[in-house]
Symmetry: C2
Subunit: 258 residues, 2 copies
């Protein structure tokens, strides 16, 4: 049997230790093609580059292991890697390991998950991995068996149509990780504040800061899992329709008003 | 009764004719505060600015009409406008009128809708308006009664918790608009191609191009509505969980693997 071809990207950039950790794990499962941003792209959400040209730079070519950096976003890396470099679908797309959580509504802001949603739109099995530790030198050592378990299941059994996975791993905090939980996205939000400063020329500027608050008391959420030292796996799709709201607005329909 | 306070932003920038058209319509319904990007931000998705400072520039202050430009993304404009400029919630957030469709999966890439989702996360009634015409000098004249109808309903009746609206308006093509339909997001996708070029120094570069393809034959979708000259209204939420998939993955749960 041929080895699976695994496409790897991230949003912290080609040099991030989290990407290096993920490459190391994926090489146990198949051949790897890495196309990752040439600089950190955190908070880029699902940005795509349409008004400037994209460039790629081959950094490594060994049997079973090819790497490119790209001047685009994580979503660009997936599109370009698949359409312009590979010319076919990989067997699996993985993104990460992100330096910091992408649980709950962070899925919306996450470049890591944007790459994964690109895979889902192409119906390629895709997984985003994030470690709940923002530091550059985070300890990724405990992640490996959980990533192997989840990616192994996806390679063996596939995923439902147009569905991908958002996997968040609790930070190493002295307690052992308790296992893997399949959960839903929690209703948790950023409570933002802006720090107002004056520059040396007396002009105002603002820094975005914020505190993350969980308003969801459910025991079936990603926030609950992480707080209780479980790896959270949320199956994610890209249908943002609030289907239950459609009948409530039916009487807002009209005929021609011009 | 006090006039409602309406917050207005977009992703085509403070000078876009679509924004000017929306301001004109909203002034019929209330007082307006505009905070819009100082340059076009199309394709920025849900990007937020965390690694550089934000600045705002007051451009206009008349009774009932204040305008700022901002060096951030549409999502930044909503956060900054509400938290740093206004200090309270507006009665309504509107974004647009976008120059180009945000139907179907475009909701994921859309800065227009990122601003609206920011409103939904704060539980503020929020609506994104887009005209299915990409040109800078598109004809926005037919949009007004539909925008007034939808925004009037939202101001009067509110929206369900954590839900916003994605409104797309068919391009003016000689046929009259037939009315408003409440619909779901179609399963339609970009079929991307990269145009490969060489720069004058013989270095490769790529332009992202694509064709939009509807794979969804449903008569209850935004693509169907637009194709049939209806204004499409999709109620949108930010729970990306594929709830029906959760039980299918239950046996992927594990205990400690370290």
């Amino acid at each position: 049997m041929n080895k699976p071809l695994i496409f790897i990207t991230n949003d912290d950039g080609i040099h991030a230790p989290g990407l290096r950790a993920l490459i190391g794990v994926m090489k146990q499962l198949g051949d790897v093609l890495v196309v990752a941003p040439d600089k950190p792209m955190s908070g880029m959400g699902h940005a795509v580059t349409i008004t400037s040209p994209l460039r790629v730079n081959k950094l490594k070519e060994e049997p079973g292991h090819i790497e490119y950096s790209c001047n685009g976003t994580p979503a660009d890396c997936v599109k370009l890697g698949q359409k312009a470099i590979l010319g076919r679908n990989p067997d699996l797309i993985v993104s990460g390991i992100n330096h910091g959580s992408n649980s709950s509504v962070n899925v919306i802001y996450s470049g890591t998950m944007a790459a994964v949603l690109e895979g889902a739109m192409e119906n390629i099995p895709s997984i985003g991995f994030s470690l709940n530790d923002y530091s550059f030198h985070a300890d990724f050592s405990k992640c490996e068996p959980y990533i192997l378990s989840i990616a192994g299941n996806v390679l063996e059994k596939g995923l439902p149509e147009y569905t991908c996975l958002n996997v968040n791993i609790p930070a190493v905090n002295g307690s052992p990780i308790k296992g893997i939980k399949i959960v839903r996205q929690a209703m948790a939000f950023w409570d933002e504040k802006f720090e107002h400063r004056k520059d040396p020329h007396e002009r105002d500027y603002f820094w975005l800061t914020g505190v993350f608050r969980n308003r969801d008391e459910g025991l079936d959420t990603d926030e609950w899992a992480l707080k209780n030292n479980y790896v959270s796996v949320v199956p994610v799709h890209f249908d943002l329709t609030s289907h239950k709201t459609i009948p409530l607005l039916r009487d807002w329909e009209t005929g021609n008003l011009n």
